[in-house]
């Protein structure tokens, strides 16, 4: 009986819509992580960037009473924060992982510190009257039964995540910048020898990832919730990195992987009503990611052996041809 209800809950349009909402703060930073990953600069600081933006957005929107100023300020703060990472990594030659860890510590501490100064509370910003971004109904689509509920009536970040995944795909595979970026990540020395400005491309990629992560952060504090909570990112920056790998380092793959993580989160809430411990359900995406790493590695191994085999056969054929001639 109970199980029936849960099943019904899972296959309802409302539930699928909620997966979209839960996944969005993963999709956006994951796209950022993908871009830096492909540029060969692993961005551990996604978590910190998200926190900074989430905080700035709430504070600025509360003090100006203008949502869009809050969003803009949040984006600016996130991009600036990622610029610190880029500067330390590319100009002061700090290890990017350590710089990322340092910035995460700084964001965690800094946001709580400032929150305490502004509100006198270390937990959340409920005393600040901050804004929420509007929810948008898409005309026509919202009237389609079932799909209308899934696709329409979300906050703007949900739509932004879909559009930005598409744009990221275009940028990475159909623009000169994207091709250069992937070349830099693949082999920086070769890229340098071709005259590609490695450092400035890496710098730009980190800034773009900062932009995307900041949208993810703003999504948390100005749409998902309407306030800032300490440590409200709760590891999403790291899950986003995992989504990059689970998605095979491709934009739509990353998008789907992030949705899988979101779905597991949503499912574990549903299972809470049954007697299945939520921990087991929440564990699934992490286990899947490790399995995906394994499968990815095995596939690459197989590809390499295949390529070597083909190469050997080709060379052998050449030698034979020469001998015959």
């Amino acid at each position: 009986m109970k199980f029936d209800l849960v099943l019904k809950g899972i296959f309802s349009a409302m539930f699928l819509a909620s997966i979209m909402r839960i996944s969005t703060p993963l999709i956006l930073p994951a796209l950022g992580g993908l871009i830096t990953e492909l540029a060969g600069a692993i961005n551990i600081a996604l978590e910190g960037i998200m926190l900074t933006s989430a905080f700035t957005g709430v504070v600025v929107s509360a003090f100006t009473q203008n949502i869009w100023l809050g969003v803009l300020a949040g984006i600016a703060a996130g991009v600036l924060f990622s610029a610190i990472l880029a500067y330390f990594h590319l100009y002061l030659e700090t290890d990017i992982i350590l710089a990322g860890i340092a910035l995460n510590i700084m964001a965690t501490g800094g946001t709580i510190f400032l929150l305490y100064i502004l509100t006198g509370d270390k937990g959340n910003s409920s005393t600040l009257a901050s804004g929420m971004v509007p929810v948008v109904e898409i005309p026509f689509i919202k009237d389609i039964p079932f799909f209308g509920t899934i696709l329409s009536g979300h906050n703007i970040f949900v739509y932004a995540a879909i559009v930005l995944t598409f744009l990221t795909y275009i940028m990475l595979y159909n623009t000169k910048f994207g091709i250069h970026l992937r070349a830099v990540g693949e082999n920086p020395t070769a890229a340098t020898s071709l005259g590609i400005p490695v450092r400035s491309i890496k710098f730009t990629s980190i800034l773009i990832s900062g932009f995307l992560a900041s949208l993810g952060g703003l999504n948390l504090s100005m749409a998902y919730l309407s306030l800032f909570q300490r440590e409200m990112t709760a590891g999403r920056g790291f899950i986003a990195l995992a989504a990059v790998y689970l998605g095979g380092r491709r934009p739509w793959g990353t998008f789907l992987a992030a949705i899988l993580f979101g779905a597991a989160d949503a499912l574990s809430n549903q299972f809470g009503t049954l007697d299945i411990p939520s921990q087991w359900v929440q564990m699934i995406p992490y286990v899947i990611t490790i399995l995906a790493l394994v499968i990815y590695a095995l596939r690459r191994k197989a590809q390499i052996t295949e390529q070597t085999k083909r190469f050997q056969e080709r060379e052998l054929a050449k030698v034979n041809n020469n001998n015959n001639a």
Binding site: I42, I44, F88, Y91, L92, E93, T94, D95, I97, L98, A99, I101, A102, L103, N104, I105, M106, T108, G109, G110, I112, F113, Y116, I117, K122, G235, F238, I239, L241, A242, Y245, P277, Q279, W280, Q282, M283, Y286, V287, T289, I290, L293, V294, Y296, A297, L298, R300, K301
Partner: protein, 381 residues
């Protein structure tokens, strides 16, 4: 004087000193703006840990954890393997040792060693997994260890909430460990040490883990610098292709590096449960694994330096707690100072002018020395 400054160790020390003091200075400037009693707040922060005996204890206890996790990270990083897995190893070490301390009906003399060894084994196994994935499948160790941390956290929560905590308790923590499952004070309870013993055991939780820690530091140093395994580890860290070419079984070594690094993570977990908290609690480690990375990196991954960076880092954290209690400043300000220290110390080109000038001077000197004998030689001919 010139010679003194051209010594790389002195130069490095100077660099760290400048980095730390500029971060502290920035923190002070912030305090000036925010606090109503900036001097008092900063005094509490800088002198807090040594102002009272129990605070001194807090500092040392915190540092013991930090040094253990630092050692764990150092072993992996020395081999250029960016393992982030210490957090998960710590959690499972805590879970296993805590369960034994609670439930295994043995006398203390057997129960405590069993719990500690079990924590080490748990860490070893949890480290073995990413090691295997890295060695045989070349799976990115950053991602695999982060995932394993998340899994370990879920396992920890699951067992704590569903099996360990008292069923009718409204909070997520276990009962306090019985006396047989708690680590004893590091001062033996002997008649002639009575006064010192009561002082330390009443005011602090410094336990026999301190001795295990000292052994661990020496063991880690020996392992890395004085054994064939350590040589292989460092070779892999320097150049893995060259190591493989030189006939080192890199796969086996990589797995062992991860697994041994896990032993120290497990020990940190045992210290947290059986030494400090004496029960299993939710959120027992919030980012301790990452703090270990910082401690290790500041010590340049050298096990003999890790106690110093661990103590320094622990001092900052303990000082932050004192400051929060004694003034209107929140302890999170110190996080920002910590982050600045990490950024400044690890920036290879931080203070490049000082370094460059010294290097140039040094180069000139050696150049002159090189020239001198060769000139003399040409005269003889």
């Amino acid at each position: 004087m010139r010679k003194f400054f051209s010594n790389p160790a002195v130069r490095e020390g100077l660099r760290v000193l400048i980095a730390v003091s500029s971060a502290l200075l920035l923190g002070f400037i912030v305090t000036l703006f925010v606090s109503e009693d900036p001097l008092g707040a900063y005094k509490a922060f800088l002198l807090g840990p040594v102002s009272k005996f129990n605070r001194f204890g807090d500092w040392i206890e915190e540092s013991i954890t930090l040094i253990f996790v630092g050692l764990s990270v150092a072993i992996a990083f020395k081999a250029n393997l960016f393992s982030m897995g210490t957090e998960g190893q710590l959690l499972l070490g805590a879970l296993v040792s805590g369960s034994i301390a609670l439930f295994v009906p043995l006398p203390a003399i057997l129960r405590i060693p069993l719990a500690i060894i079990a924590a080490m084994v748990a860490g070893f196994i949890w480290g073995w997994i990413p090691g295997y994935l890295k060695a045989y499948l070349d799976a990115n160790e950053i991602v695999s260890t982060l995932m394993l941390n998340a899994i370990a956290l879920k396992l920890y929560d699951y067992f704590l909430i569903f099996h360990i905590k008292p069923p009718d308790a409204g909070y997520n923590s276990s009962d306090f460990f019985p006396k047989e499952g708690t680590l004893m004070s590091f001062i033996p309870n002997l008649p002639f040490l009575k006064g010192v013993y009561t002082l330390f055991s009443d005011k602090t939780n410094i336990t026999i883990m301190l001795y295990i820690l000292i052994i661990a530091v020496i063991a880690a140093y020996y392992l890395i610098y004085r054994t064939p395994f350590g040589y292989k580890l460092r070779m892999i860290g320097a150049n893995i292709k060259f190591a493989r070419y030189g006939g080192i079984n890199t796969k086996r070594t990589i797995i062992l590096v991860f697994a041994i690094s896990g032993i120290f993570g497990g020990l940190a977990g045992a210290h947290l449960t059986m030494g400090i908290h004496t029960k299993l609690i939710a959120n027992i480690s919030v980012g301790m694994g990452f703090e270990g990375i910082v401690v290790s990196i500041l010590a340049r991954n050298n096990p003999l330096l890790i106690p110093f960076t661990g103590l320094a880092y622990g001092y900052l954290r303990a000082g932050a707690n004192v400051m929060e209690r004694a003034s209107d400043m929140s302890r999170e300000m110190v996080f920002v100072i910590q982050a600045l220290i990490i950024l400044f110390v690890t920036a290879e080109r931080f203070l490049p002018t000082i370094q460059k000038r010294i290097e140039m001077r040094k180069e000139n000197n050696t150049h002159m020395e090189k020239l001198a004998p060769s000139d003399g030689g040409s005269h003889e001919v």
